[in-house]
Symmetry: C3
């Protein structure tokens, strides 16, 4: 199986699918093609929320503001999964997750550069570099990456780690990592800080908000704080947009008084 | 085959696909993931316009404003199809359609509750409850639902029926069920009321509009009334938005003078 | 394999998929369903950028402002590919590309009308005419189109050719064919005019702009001119929208002084 992720919108991903279908019979599943444009960190976050649910696969990821520059193409082996994409950090957080899930060691992933000739275009490496690489990796097999002449092991790559929240007694400070399509503001504050607060109230940026397990635990249009499906603290509104109600966007700081 | 429908936007449906792909080799086809958010009635309508065209399949539907509350998870057997989703009515109209298509009896569907343990999250039962249930139902087979320990037959579920239009001589009154992506306002008024009006004119909310079989029967930008692919009266504009030209939104009343 | 392209948005394409899945086990891949609405030329352009990358397939295309009128349904054989769609020109540019790729002769395609009975709806031939036709063509095989009673060879069809740019010494004048999801303005001016200008500057509509191979060759938010993945001159902004920065929309004239 090959999965596809990008910030391409439409219809460019279809050209990638065509290239893959010409090269292999592998099943293709789309993760998303509407990741926030050229936002490497947001894409890296969403990959950690989606790819680990898949069985072993080759995951082709193209969020690549440096396309056409001399940035490398990478292949990462993480457990039985392979990740293919640009060397800008987007692959690293999910590589750690996949490695930790399969080997109990988040460092148990291996990074290779993938050598490519000058492609047909300097603006669409998704079609001309990464899709062919994903098909080749799929048919070679994740255990045989070393057998490909294109691969060279490397430890010189761009890394990316999500910022850590700080928790100090009853104060937790973090930031909004992404806002999802519902308007839920996903923070980097671990959900454990709310463990014994459900049914009660905390302060978010100085204003009270109830702590609930379900959006529908408050009236329609009301604010709440919950633990999202990612395990982090999430600022939400029942049937509304948490980002607007809490006045936050991706990257903004959030302070909780528990 | 398993189909997926939700109001999740992107990329949450990918996590559901991963869960299903881990559990079964079943083919997955997306119906839509942009149903109007938390709008159970609109989703129920669109399911009646899409699922009956499929061969027998397991249809996983997650439009679920009550996620994390104590609402039940349901599995419905309708003909050779199975529907999996929350107990909020969203499955019922299409269950009647599927049952009627396959058995000539709209009541020939069976509803089961699907017992589930506390899932990993209280906010994403699509990933943690409904996707695993759909995979399990697929591999068990729609004829063997009773064999699953999770299933209990029930007739205590939330039902949903679309409001009926009233037709009285030359007057028909109904409401807009949904507005589609083109801007066509789909009403609940049966298309038969227009049967001998094509080529003529009727009044919609007191203003004349031509009755046409094709959008292009009027000039670009002009209003028309037609019978849509759903068989109901539809308010449209050739190459434009009917909802804006007729000044209506989902839920609004529409009065026709034939 | 059957590919699907339309301007339907969501969820109408799902009904087409259901119809196809009932008729054949063929793999289905989506090209795009958000082509600019009722814009035959834009759809025709995007098809040339996507379908040629696929292995031989049946491509079902529904951008069809004339649905329900007496316009014909067509099937086109181009190399080992078949195209199915309305007779409004949308299939012709990609038919030439596919024919040229496989036979070295852009005229080596064959057009057939596809006879159909009055379908269930006058507004959704994607579901009622083109999806069934695509499934039938797939199972008959592109080499056996003549064996279907529905097909009649024709040379009386609506053609469509993209306007040609004019290049005269150091002046090139063309137009914007489409604006992509990134905001890149794709012109019809062949990329060869920029061949020895990379690293330098040209004038676009009287204002200087650098000529670059990569978007990231200029600072964030800065304008540039490049050759896009389609091989044509493209007006872009690094991590921004070229259409806004250059003040152009699809159909606008663009003048380059090289």
């Amino acid at each position: 199986m090959i999965t596809l992720s990008s910030d391409f919108g439409s219809p460019y991903p279809a050209a990638m699918k065509g290239v893959i279908c010409r090269a292999t019979d592998a099943r293709i599943e789309d993760i998303a093609h509407d990741f926030p444009r050229q936002d490497v960190r947001a894409a890296a976050f969403w990959l950690t929320q989606t790819l680990p649910y898949f069985p072993p696969a080759v995951h082709c990821v193209v969020v690549d503001p440096g396309v056409g520059t001399d940035r490398d193409a990478l292949v990462v082996r993480a457990g039985e999964h392979a990740l293919v994409g640009p060397d800008n950090g987007v692959l690293l957080p999910v590589a750690r997750e996949l490695a930790a899930n399969e080997t109990d060691t988040a460092d148990a992933f291996e990074v290779f550069t993938w050598a490519y000739d000058d492609p047909a275009s300097t603006t669409f490496h998704g079609r001309d570099v990464f899709a062919p690489a994903a098909a080749a990796v799929h048919d070679t097999g994740v255990d045989n990456l070393e057998a490909r002449t294109e691969t060279t092991p490397t430890d010189d790559y761009v890394d990316l780690r999500f910022p850590a929240a700080s928790v100090d007694g009853d104060d937790a400070t973090g930031e909004v990592l992404v806002v999802d399509d519902f308007g839920n503001a996903v923070t980097n504050i671990p959900g454990e800080v709310l463990a014994d607060r459900f049914g009660g109230t905390i302060e978010v940026d100085g204003r009270d908000a109830p702590v609930c397990r379900a959006y529908a635990a408050v009236d329609r249009g009301q604010r709440l704080v919950t633990v999202g499906s990612h395990g982090n603290v999430e600022l939400a509104v029942n049937r509304g947009r948490g980002d607007e109600a809490f006045g936050v966007s991706a990257g903004d700081t959030v302070a909780l008084s528990l």
